[in-house]
């Protein structure tokens, strides 16, 4: 029997075109079935989640965007009676008060100085945080020594070079929030390294002093430290030397952050294998050189995520200085809330939303950065 090559009516001669996979096994339908409705319990959870989203998201969108008032010159613009509908966030108020939120009562004509400081600070932070940046040692010197001095001269003023003096009681808003947190990090990092070294020192008295300082500061709330700095610092200084109102909480915040920084750095010191210490010693390096050249560069590098996390905490904690009467962002928002020009039922929530958004963007950005660094550092450990 010969094999027939003749076409048979019921056999296809050519392959048919590719079919899409069944809708229920691939694509978004399958994904939804698998991830959201795989079982009865799962379906209930999904429905609860949907209900929560329904409760939160549409009112929020309506309040912040759809019903919001974007322009206006005073409270009249944000009153429901004048607008003729329900009124959401009064963004016109934020727009009108924006420069107060950023600079506080800093004199109008001198605000360019603050802008320069912002730019200089941004350069310093970018230099330090970008791990592949050129000359990072120089960057550290710039951020921890040069920048604070220049910023102080610019912000405070120095009549010898023609910069009018601006009293710190006029500083406010985001400027003060940034000043407090930058001073906190600039002081606390070196001090924290010293305390961490002290805690791991062989010398019993040095160790004791470091342990007591670290544990006491970590055991009390920041607010008590701030009260202490506010009321007791003038007592401890001789005679009629009364420290600047802004300087007092700065001292408190810096000391407080140092204790937390010390614990982070100590973690890094402990993570360095003993062989590194022994290797350095066998090369004949003394204690300080061993630390400076071998141990600290490695230890600080692995605790960058920890340092950033401490900084996030510090950044959020700077809001507490408003309780001791410093005009940080929160305090400036609170002050504008009693301003009759903008007194409406929605002003308060709008102000809080603005402040919340500012803190969220800063903190979330930093936490993303710290996660990225962590991943990058972990990549080197993978085998």
């Amino acid at each position: 029997m010969a094999i027939t090559t003749e076409p048979v009516a019921y056999v296809r001669g050519t392959p048919i075109a590719e079919q899409p996979p069944p809708l229920l096994a691939r694509g978004w339908v399958a994904w939804v079935r698998e991830n959201l409705f795989s079982s009865v319990g799962n379906t209930i959870l999904t429905l609860i989640a949907l209900y929560i989203i329904y409760l939160v998201v549409p009112p929020a969108i309506r309040f912040f965007f759809l019903d919001a008032v974007w322009t206006g010159s005073d409270r009249e613009a944000c009153l429901a009676a004048n607008v003729g509908r329900e009124v959401g966030a009064c963004w016109a108020y934020v727009d009108a008060k924006f420069s107060y939120f950023v600079y506080g009562s800093y004199p109008w004509d001198e605000r360019w100085r603050v802008d320069i400081v912002f730019v200089l600070g941004a350069i310093g932070i970018a230099w330090l945080l970008w791990l592949d940046a050129p000359k990072r040692n120089l960057g550290a010197l710039y951020f921890f020594v040069i920048f604070p001095v220049v910023a102080f001269i610019l912000l405070r003023g120095w009549t010898a070079v023609g910069l009018e003096r601006v009293d710190t009681s006029l500083w406010g808003g985001i400027l003060v929030t940034l000043v407090v947190s930058i001073v906190g990090i600039v002081v606390s990092l070196p001090l924290g390294v010293l305390l961490a070294l002290g805690r791991r020192s062989r010398l019993p008295l040095v160790r004791l002093a470091s342990v007591i300082f670290i544990e006491v500061v970590r055991g009390v709330p920041l607010i008590t430290v701030l009260f202490m700095a506010n009321t007791m610092l003038p007592l401890f200084l001789p005679g009629n030397m009364s420290p600047d109102r802004l300087l007092r909480p700065l001292v408190g915040v810096a000391l407080f952050a140092s204790a937390y920084m010390a614990e982070v750095v100590r973690g890094g010191l402990q993570a360095i294998p003993k062989g590194q210490y022994e290797g350095a010693m066998s090369l004949g390096l003394g204690y300080w050189r061993m630390m400076r050249l071998i141990i600290l560069p490695q230890a600080l590098r692995i605790v960058i995520p920890g340092i950033v996390n401490t900084f996030i905490g510090l950044f959020k904690d700077t809001t507490l200085v408003s309780i001791v009467g410093i005009f940080d962002l929160i305090k400036t928002v609170e002050v504008t809330l009693v301003d009759p020009t903008w007194a409406t039922p929605v002003t308060r929530l709008t102000g809080y939303a603005f402040a919340g958004l500012f803190y969220f963007i800063c903190c979330y950005g930093m936490s993303r950065y710290s996660l990225a660094v962590e991943r990058r550092l972990a990549a080197g450990q993978k085998r």
Binding site: L36, V206, G219, V220, P238, K316, I323, Y352
Partner: protein, 396 residues
């Protein structure tokens, strides 16, 4: 003849001898610290003398000239309460908000932490949004939002929300029925205690029997019967000795019932939701730290989902969870001092705020306040270390 002994004691300069240097460093440190303390003390004494502020702790027995709205012990300025009493009032209020806050934060934190690991995409994302939104906004701002924008914006007592069961919510706080104990109520409370002890004893017995014979006992049902059923039975048998006083609208405010102040509610809600976000991350990390092999091995042994979680995963996760959880509890306690910003009468607000302003004795007041927080921190970490030692891995 050359001197051989010289080679055994190396001729280094005294300056380079590490031991001498160590002693020198420490002497310098002590001298500097002693100088600072001396300077601070003499200056403080001089400044206080000039400002005519008394020193010492006598002020604690002086009559306080102010009232506090929420007190756990009787306190009134007219009744001759002292600054010492004010201290106790503040301390108790701090402990109250911290204790309830810790319980709520733990419950919410565990729920959110488990939800972040849920296989349900929407639940996991929702939990993630919660954690990120809460963690990245300062607690103080959140307290302001809860207090000023949420609770103060509630309607006045005449238009208050009725939550149901005699619970009312308005801008003066939360009004709830207050249990009134009549004679015989002691028996009901006693029954609760007996039920609790009984169920613990039963659980220990059941566990021992299971290890000896392999037979399981219905622990859950028996405990439920003992803790809920027994008091209920006693309650009915003794003729319902507990009555409730319901809050009623009289004039412009409520009378009767128990009033929970909005400051307390705001602080409690703010602290618990904030800390819960951190606890959720700790719980997630703890569960992820238990390797998948443990789950698979448990399944291979024939354990089902529930027992796998209860007997294999959670005990191991707890080892990772407990140490950071402790520090979160401490953070919550320390953060309760933010009460000062919204006027809840805790230790910081009553003692470091009002008492400090009235007496002017900053050194004593702040030292006492710090010592209290320090003591709370040390005691908590001591207790948690004990627990941790029990839960820690026993290595060979």
């Amino acid at each position: 003849m050359t001197d051989i002994t010289q080679s055994t004691s190396p001729r280094t300069s005294v300056i380079n001898d590490p031991r001498v240097r160590g002693v020198a460093y420490q002497v310098i440190l002590v001298v500097v610290l002693a100088f600072l303390v001396y300077e601070a003390t003499t200056n403080a004494i001089e400044n206080l003398r000039r400002a005519r502020i008394a020193s010492g702790f006598d002020f604690l027995s002086t009559t306080a000239g102010f009232d506090v709205n929420q007190t756990l012990i009787p306190f009134s300025s007219s009744g001759g309460s002292t600054y010492g009493d004010a201290f106790i009032v503040g301390l108790l209020n701090t402990l109250l908000v911290a204790a309830i806050g810790i319980v709520l934060a733990t419950i919410l934190g565990f729920i959110v932490g488990v939800a972040r690991l849920s296989s349900n995409w929407m639940v996991a994302k929702l939990a993630k949004v919660y954690v990120e939104a809460i963690r990245n906004v300062p607690l103080l701002l959140q307290l302001f939002i809860w207090y000023n924008a949420v609770l103060k914006a509630l309607p006045n007592p005449r238009q208050s929300y009725e939550v149901g069961g005699g619970v009312f919510l308005n801008n003066r706080g939360l009004f709830a029925p207050q249990p009134l104990l009549e004679p015989g109520a002691g028996l009901v409370i006693g029954a609760v205690v007996v039920g609790l002890i009984g169920s613990f004893v039963f659980r220990a017995w059941a566990r021992r029997r299971q290890e000896a014979t392999g037979q399981q006992a219905p622990i859950g049902t028996v405990a439920l019967a003992l803790i809920v059923g027994l008091p209920l039975l006693v309650f009915l048998l003794t003729g319902r000795p507990i009555a409730f006083s319901y809050p009623e609208l009289r004039g412009f405010n409520f009378a009767g019932g128990v009033q929970i102040f909005p400051e307390f509610v705001a602080l409690l809600v703010g602290l618990s939701t904030y800390t819960a976000a951190f606890i959720a991350e700790i719980v997630r990390a703890g569960i992820l730290a238990v390797s998948r092999g443990q789950t698979e091995a448990a399944h291979a042994l024939g354990l089902r989902e529930g027992p796998t979680l209860r007997l294999v995963i959670i005990p191991q996760a707890m080892r990772v969870i407990v140490p950071p959880l402790t520090s979160q509890y401490l953070n919550l306690t320390k953060n309760s001092s933010l009460a000062v910003a919204i006027g809840y009468p805790d230790l910081a607000q009553v003692f470091m705020g009002t008492v400090l302003n009235q007496t002017g004795q900053a050194v004593e007041v702040i030292a006492i306040t710090m010592a209290v927080y320090l003591a709370i921190s040390l005691i908590t970490s001591l207790v948690m270390n004990l627990y941790n030692r029990r839960a820690a891995i026993v290595e060979r």
